[in-house]
């Protein structure tokens, strides 16, 4: 940074240097949906693997079913993690906003009560 650089110049420079990913609007929702889809796919894969292995005596097919089931379990685990990550983020963000709003309301109420109390006290004193 040079000493003659204004805040505006620095802003433009920093923006140019900033590694901003591609527009991410709606990406969280996409990951959330992917998580749900993977969870569902995992369950379907697990169930199909179960029926696949029960419908045959061929150990090779049963091993395929085993691999399929493991894939299903992995998909369900990854899906659950994605779902939890993106649903929890939304929930916590909302919870924090709610908390902040409640506290503001509470502070306003307390302040109002104090002022009213003070005014009542003054009224009584003046009588």
């Amino acid at each position: 940074m040079t000493s003659t650089e204004t805040r505006a110049d620095r802003f433009v420079r920093e923006l140019a240097e900033l590694k901003i990913p591609d527009p991410a609007a709606g990406r969280a929702a996409l990951w959330l949906r992917l998580g749900v889809a993977l969870m569902a796919a995992g369950l379907v894969l697990g169930a199909s693997a179960y029926f696949m292995s029960h419908g045959t005596r061929d150990p090779l097919v049963q091993r395929d079913a085993l691999a399929l089931a493991l894939g299903g379990v992995s998909a369900a685990v990854v899906g659950s993690a994605l779902f939890l990550r993106y649903s929890l983020t939304g929930f916590l963000r909302f919870w924090m906003a709610r908390q902040s709003y409640d506290l503001t309301q509470l502070a306003d109420r307390l302040l109002e009560r104090d002022i009213r109390h003070e005014l009542n006290g003054n009224d009584t004193a003046s009588r």
Partner: protein, 235 residues
């Protein structure tokens, strides 16, 4: 030179209901632009889009000439875009000092943050240990501004600074805003009550039902038109 903040043909919606119908706005370094209009005109949504908090359905958000449409608001905040929301956005249960401490996320030390805040608003130094929720409305707004300034913003977005405050306090706060702009910060102010902000604004835009109906220098013509808008006349 490119404006520091530029909105081009921005459209935005809430659950399919369009709030902005192609908004164009430019704010240069050191400029104060007032975005005025009645309740529900889309002023706050415009600020939220400018801060990256609300996604635009179409149109472009340019900062320092770079297209940052859809960028993460955290990236924009780190770069120097600061939104001070309506309702001040201070933590009412924390002390003034702790509220300022929260701004050290920008990488500045507590001392640096306090130095900026207390130099601009000396009253906050006297109230340093007081809980923010027990400050007067004006002092809370000063704290909100001080928190914003602590991030060393290049673009400052202010939402309804005057809300619930006495005219004298509002005038004092806007004088500080003008001073901040003089240091090269681009300031976009959203206001429902125009009088105070028009005194310091370089440019004003009047927004009605999600559209900018008029913009220009805050002269008598604009003030008359604003009065007409608020009173429901069609002039």
């Amino acid at each position: 030179m490119n404006p520091l903040l530029e909105l081009r043909e921005i459209r935005a919606a809430y659950d399919g209901i369009t709030a902005l119908h192609g908004v164009d706005l430019r704010v240069g370094a050191g400029q104060v632009v007032a975005l005025l209009g009645p309740n529900g005109a889309g002023k706050t949504t415009t600020l939220r889009v400018a801060a990256g908090v609300h996604p635009a359905e179409s149109g472009r958000l340019l900062l320092g000439g770079r297209d940052l449409t859809g960028a993460d608001p955290r990236d924009l905040a780190r770069a120097g875009v600061c939104l001070i929301p309506e309702g001040r956005g201070v933590f009412p249960n924390l002390s003034v000092r702790d509220n300022l401490l929260m701004m050290t996320f920008t990488g500045r030390s507590r001392e640096q943050v306090e130095e900026v805040a207390f130099a601009r608003f000396p009253i906050l130094a006297k109230r340093a240990t007081q809980t923010a929720g027990t400050l007067s409305g004006g002092e809370q707004q000063m704290l909100a501004l001080a928190r914003g300034l602590a991030t060393d913003p290049a673009v400052l977005l202010l939402d309804e600074l005057s809300m619930g405050l006495a005219p004298l306090i509002v005038a004092e706060l806007y004088e500080q805003v003008a001073e901040i702009a003089r240091q090269g910060v681009a300031v976009l102010v959203v206001e429902q009550f125009a009088a105070a902000v028009l005194d310091i604004a370089d440019h004003a835009a009047v927004m009605v039902r999600g559209r900018i109906e008029r913009h220009g220098r805050p002269d008598d013509g604009l003030r008359t038109e604003l009065s007409a808008l608020y009173l429901g006349s069609s002039t």
